[in-house]
């Protein structure tokens, strides 16, 4: 809302230059409307295709599919989101989609093989709650507003500096000149400040939604430790996601641009610092919003809570104590890595043939021979045609 008001004010000052405030407003709103419409209808597919994500079905990766379905049930989402895997060793995940009925979650193959079931559940819970809370739409709108403000302010300040003042003054009669200069100076200051303010507001909103998603994930899974330990694993890696960019970064579970050792508690980050997020999750006495709010206050030493109306939410929600940690036939990291790479090869239409000597042959789709020889032991295998 604040950013909307800023936008309209910029439009108003631009309008002063063009001679009528209404024209400026219309320009601002037109630009905003076009960008919003594009984001609303195409945002998710643009984001997914930009990141090179591949859609998977239940058979491709039953565990991931099941975990997403579990979180869908826990959150009460009505429709199963689409699931995508991004073939990237960086550790990250994001959610997208303009409304809860048309949503997708994406996870990098690196993260998929790094996390055990509980951790995966925590991460997916975080992403599903972005969908459930409509953060995707909110952040898309905010970032478009931000972009529009920056754009218009930039043009506006150029006009004002290189010509606005001179031409306006000559056309106005003596007495009005002084007042006009004051307006123009105010306008100029505003043009410079507006984008900065808008950016700070944008970052603040983004960080707040991250805390909310963490709290929701803990509530859905009833197990904050799962997400905490996943975030810890995420924190140890500094690999940056190739496909990410500034505009899409609030969608990710951790800021895709963070650098090692960077204390991200400053005002210019889309995500709260990982160490703080982990400490809050670990300080939770129960799994409710209220517990998260109290843990937040504890970590930040007093001050206001982060979850609006947390005190009103159901009082105590116990944390699940019995978890399938390490047992339950959980795959270890090496097994998960194999599993994930199998999925990635299959998604690129490679045939995988397991030879009797233990070697795995990956047959590319352009390989047309009917048979293939194992380079290890020399056995021949028929190549299945798809």
């Amino acid at each position: 809302m604040v950013m909307g008001a800023l936008l309209i004010l910029i439009g108003y000052f631009l309008g002063l230059y063009f001679g009528s405030a209404i024209a400026g407003l219309i320009i601002a709103l037109l630009v905003w409307a076009v960008l919003s419409l594009v984001a609303y209808f195409q945002g998710d597919s643009i984001l997914l295709s930009m990141s090179g994500a591949k859609k998977i079905s239940r058979d491709d990766h039953p565990r991931l599919y099941n975990v997403v379905e579990e979180m869908k049930i826990a959150s009460g989402l009505e429709k199963m989101p689409d699931i995508y895997i991004i073939d990237d060793p960086a550790l990250n995940a994001f959610a997208t989609g303009r409304d809860p009925n048309r949503a997708s979650v994406a996870i990098t193959s690196g993260l998929l093989q790094k996390l055990n079931r509980d951790e995966l559940q925590g991460v997916i819970g975080h992403e599903i709650s972005h969908i459930k809370n409509r953060d995707v739409l909110l952040m898309a709108m905010c970032s478009i507003l931000l972009g529009t403000i920056v754009l218009l302010a930039w043009y506006g300040s150029r006009f004002l500096i290189f010509g606005g003042t001179g031409s306006r003054r000559s056309s106005s009669s003596g007495g009005g000149g002084g007042a006009l200069i004051i307006i123009l100076v105010v306008a100029l200051v505003f043009m410079i400040l507006a984008p900065i303010m808008a950016q700070l507001i944008y970052f603040a909103i983004s960080r707040k939604r991250e805390y909310l998603a963490d709290a929701s994930s803990a509530l859905y899974t009833r197990y904050p430790e799962g997400l905490a330990s996943a975030l810890e694993k995420l924190g140890t890696s500094t690999g940056q996601l190739k496909s990410a960019n500034q505009a899409t970064s609030p969608m990710y579970i951790v800021n895709p641009f963070r650098k090692k050792g960077m204390q991200a508690s400053d005002l210019t980050s889309t995500h709260p610092p990982l160490s703080k997020r982990i400490r809050i999750l670990r300080a939770m006495a129960g799994a409710s919003f209220n517990d998260y709010d109290q843990a937040y206050r504890q970590v930040y030493q007093g001050g206001k809570g982060i979850i609006p109306g947390a005190g009103l939410a159901a009082g105590t929600v116990p944390i699940a104590t019995i978890k399938l940690e390490g047992e339950a036939g959980e795959l270890n990291e090496i097994q998960r890595a194999r599993e994930t790479s199998d999925v990635m090869w299959r998604l690129s239409n490679y045939n995988t043939i397991t030879c009797d000597c233990g070697a795995k042959l990956r047959v590319p789709p352009q390989f047309k021979e009917p048979q293939i020889k194992c380079p290890h032991c020399g056995r021949t295998h028929p190549v299945p045609r798809t």
Partner: protein, 188 residues
């Protein structure tokens, strides 16, 4: 004349408030219904998985006939209780869960099972179904809480009693072992 307008205004405001509260109650009631249907789906899924599991495990387990029979019996009882109310149903499903966890505890004595691909896939399905049951129960109970609060709190309780909205039953876990997810620990 002014008094008439005021009365009309008050009536309109009351009417709008009534409509909003009524629709809110309907939405919550539907959410409870949907949540219940979701539990239903997951319980049914578990009922469907069990014959498969018993079939796969049978070949490996020579000495566990009793345990296997207990699971099959508990499943049939749970199937019969499907049409009963939430309380009775929770009890039958609780017993099925404990029978299932006993079976899965003895599975550990049969290392051959660990290598069975079919069994591993089944195990993932079972783990996930157990999770889904507890998550759908969680969501159901949250929805019931919200709905019941709405039917009992002023002013929506007036609308609730006029519209015939009755409080719903929680899906409580009665048998103690059901509170924990089945420990599926057959691979190391």
């Amino acid at each position: 004349m002014v008094a008439v307008y005021i009365i009309i205004g008050v009536v309109v405001v009351l009417l709008i408030a009534f409509l909003i509260l009524y629709n809110g109650l309907v939405r919550l009631r539907n959410q409870v219904k949907n949540a219940w249907a979701q539990i239903d789906v997951q319980l049914k899924r578990r009922h469907d998985l069990i014959p498969n599991l018993v079939e796969t495990v049978k070949g490996y387990m020579k000495y566990e006939r009793e345990t296997l029979e207990a699971v099959t019996k508990a499943r049939n009882l749970a199937l019969q209780a499907s049409s009963a109310g939430a309380g009775e149903r929770a009890k039958a499903e609780g017993e099925l869960s404990s029978a299932l966890s006993r079976l899965l505890a003895v599975v550990e004595r049969y290392p051959d099972l660990k290598a069975n691909q079919n069994f591993l896939a089944l195990q993932e399905e079972l783990t996930s179904t157990e999770n889904k049951i507890s998550f759908s129960r969680q969501f159901y109970n949250d929805s019931v809480l919200r709905y019941n609060n709405q039917t009992q709190m002023v002013p929506s309780n007036i609308v609730a009693s006029m519209g015939g909205f009755k409080a719903s039953e929680f899906f409580e876990v009665t048998a103690a072992p059901e509170r924990e997810p089945v420990k599926v620990s057959f691979t190391q």
